[in-house]
């Protein structure tokens, strides 16, 4: 089928709920409304109120209750309406979801998928455009994924639904309806912990993920450049092998993220390349991200989110070194 990311996810969730009677969805407006982005549209009608739960407006208890459900043998899929609201539930994610397996030495573990829209570029209100992937990855104990295509969104969700640990599933708002692609009707898995080589080339490597993948691809295509484009897909655990291999192959690396630059995923990737491939590089590792400030109100969004022009300029700088 031709599907955008919303449809691909809706389809993935439906297939997983058919496969697994223990899977329940819970969140704000996910039932009759189908979620504010319609990712769960129609699922209440198909699976009923017991499995598609409109919860009270209480983010901490959406995640906390999901933890209890997972302990009780269910496979909950909580939705936080926007990632910026997940900070209210951050305590539950970090103090319990990330630690339960470790705390009990695997006697208890938490199969659950915490879904939330992330990222900006769609002119929303404050705290509707956050990129918290580094925070969740820093919790140590949460798998963090962020697809950039409908195909990967469906495959990663299905893979996540078969895992026994909490997966923070970040869905870039901007990509929900940006483009369609051919997505298989059946169930298939996209490996977690494995990056995708979105483009192969020789002159340099761009390591990126989420909303920036398509922007980077566009620059590469327009300028007819020969570059590796690595789409991380999984932020934690990081696919170090693919990153290092590409860095060694091309000798030049640019890391592109939508999130603010300071203390971000790019810093982690850059440090690992510096530790393991330094002598095979012929230029300093460059990082490109949003400025190190809180996500601005929509009036200033275009000054904040990295765009093709900025990426192109960084590529020039990298190639001139």
């Amino acid at each position: 089928m031709q599907a955008n990311m919303v449809l691909a996810l809706n389809n993935a969730i439906e297939l997983c709920m058919n496969e697994n009677n223990s899977m329940v969805l819970l969140g704000e407006d996910i039932g009759i409304d189908g979620g504010v982005f319609r990712v769960t549209d129609g699922l209440l009608q198909k699976f009923g109120e017991k499995r598609v739960i409109d919860t009270p407006l209480a983010e901490s208890s959406i995640i906390g209750t999901s933890i209890g459900m997972a302990l009780g043998g269910l496979h909950p899929v909580p939705e936080i309406q926007f990632a910026g609201f997940s900070y209210l539930a951050f305590s539950q994610a970090v103090t319990h979801a990330a630690r339960y397996r470790s705390r009990t030495r695997s006697k208890m573990y938490l199969p659950m998928i915490i879904r939330m829209p992330v990222g900006g570029g769609v002119k929303t209100l404050e705290l509707h455009s956050e990129s918290p992937e580094a925070m969740y990855s820093n919790a140590q104990g949460l798998i963090v994924v962020e697809p950039s295509t409908p195909y990967d969104a469906k495959g990663l969700f299905i893979k996540a639904s078969r895992m026994k640990d909490p997966v923070v599933f970040l869905e870039p708002t901007k990509l929900y309806r940006l483009f369609k692609q051919e997505v298989p009707d059946d169930m298939y898995e996209v490996e977690i912990g494995k990056a995708r080589t979105a483009n192969e080339g020789d002159d340099f490597s761009i390591i990126t993920y989420g909303t920036m993948v398509n922007v980077v691809q566009s620059v590469i295509e327009k300028r007819k450049l020969s570059a590796d484009v690595i789409d991380l897909r999984t932020i934690n655990p990081l696919d170090e092998d693919t990153i290092i291999e590409s860095a060694k192959k091309t000798g030049k690396v640019l890391i592109v993220q939508e999130a603010p630059l300071s203390f971000g995923v790019g810093a982690e990737v850059a440090a690992r390349i510096a530790e393991k491939a330094m002598y095979e590089l012929d230029a300093p590792i460059l990082r490109l991200g949003a400025p190190s400030l809180p996500y601005p109100f929509p009036g200033y969004e275009n000054y904040y989110v990295p765009n093709e022009k900025k990426i192109s300029a960084y590529i020039d700088r990298l190639l001139s070194m």
């Binding site: 208890s61 209890g68 269910l74």
Partner: protein, 355 residues
């Protein structure tokens, strides 16, 4: 016009007073002499184990510990009312509940020695590990209760929270959630009057903690938390009607000693207050009752303490044979071990960094 649209009241229940006198009308008929003796033994066992961990901590043989001294009736009374298939979700001071539900004693000591291997909760024990961040366990209890209801099981979840914990957002959210979905969930508020140095009055302007249930549409009761029979009865009654929804039980008790081994209560409360509560000791009053009925004597008392001491010493000895293996912290973060973690583990092993 102006009308009353809502009215509520909170009841307080005591079955056995400080001198061991019983209110015959409230006394649960099913509570046999042998059951009362068992409750008494469990309360004493909890107190002895508590004293042992405290002593081990002072000798450097245990990590920081939160004693339960004074709260035995609340914990054993409620635990004893639970059925085998019921599930309990503690905070960090419910040692009495663990012990009454037969948690392996050597694992208990191992945990408080500082090893999470002690959290290897046996299948069928039906409880979660110690929860440290205050009240964060309450949504878990709600989720567990939802899962039981979802599966059509008749188990009830019993969770515990302190007086300080009732100020947390997770407390309000969990009450609300369990009320909306009519979950089989019992919240036991162990109101021991102190949240470290903050007295009960600093937590809320509400006259009782039990009344916090009212806004969530949940039934609640306040009981004498140093009266094991009242706590047993309130819990048992709540379990019996839990299929129709949740219940809050506020147990009025007292933390007779420090918050944890790192705390010095003389900084914030008077000894006279502690002395007044000593007269309401939960173990003394049950002892008075049992002795008055000819069910207990000095010989029974010393036999019991000797048996407990041996059981405790054996478990401590077993726990102290445990040898840590760092593999257990590296290989239990996820179902799989990511390469980055494998490298970090291997680095420690091959360089002897941990010797």
């Amino acid at each position: 016009m102006i009308n009353d649209v809502f009215k509520a009241d909170i009841k307080y229940m005591q079955v056995m007073d400080e001198s061991g006198n019983i209110d015959g009308e409230l006394f649960p008929k099913e509570l046999t002499d042998n059951m009362l003796i068992e409750i008494y033994r469990q309360m004493n066992f909890a107190r002895s184990v508590d004293a042992k961990v405290l002593s081990l901590q002072r000798q450097g043989r245990a990590a920081t510990y939160a004693p339960l001294l004074g709260q035995e009736a609340t914990q054993i009374g409620s635990a004893y009312a639970m059925r085998k298939d019921d599930f309990f979700v503690p905070n960090f001071r419910q040692h009495g509940v663990y012990l009454a539900r037969k948690f392996p004693l050597d694992l208990f000591f191992l945990y408080w020695r500082g090893f999470e291997e002690g959290n290897a909760i046996p299948v069928g024990f039906n409880g979660t590990p110690v929860t440290v961040p205050v009240s964060t366990q309450l949504p878990h209890a709600a989720g567990l209760a939802y899962s039981y209801k979802y599966k059509g099981l008749s188990s009830t979840v019993v969770t515990y929270v302190g007086d300080g914990g009732t100020s947390e957002g997770d407390f309000a959210e969990s009450l609300n959630f369990s009320g909306v979905f009519k979950l089989p969930l019992i919240f036991i508020i162990e109101n021991n009057q102190w949240a470290i140095s903050e007295s009960r009055k600093k937590q809320t302007a509400a006259g009782t903690l039990a009344q916090k249930a009212i806004a969530a549409g949940i039934d609640s009761i306040q009981v004498d938390g140093n009266d094991a029979i009242a706590v047993y009865k309130a819990t048992k009654d709540a379990i019996e009607k839990s299929a129709s929804g949740p219940m809050v039980i506020e147990c009025i008790t007292y933390r007779m000693t420090m918050h944890t081994t790192s705390d010095d209560p003389s900084k914030y409360r008077d000894q006279s207050e502690v002395d007044a509560w000593k007269r309401r000791d939960p173990i003394i009053r049950l002892s008075l009752y049992l002795r008055s009925k000819g069910l207990w004597n000095d010989d029974n008392e010393s036999e019991m303490h000797n048996a407990h001491a041996k059981q405790i010493d054996d478990a401590v000895a077993k726990a102290e044979t445990f040898k840590p293996n760092p593999k257990s912290i590296f290989e239990n973060v996820f179902e799989f071990t990511p390469n980055i973690l494998k490298d970090e583990e291997q680095e420690g092993i091959s360089n002897n960094f941990w010797q």
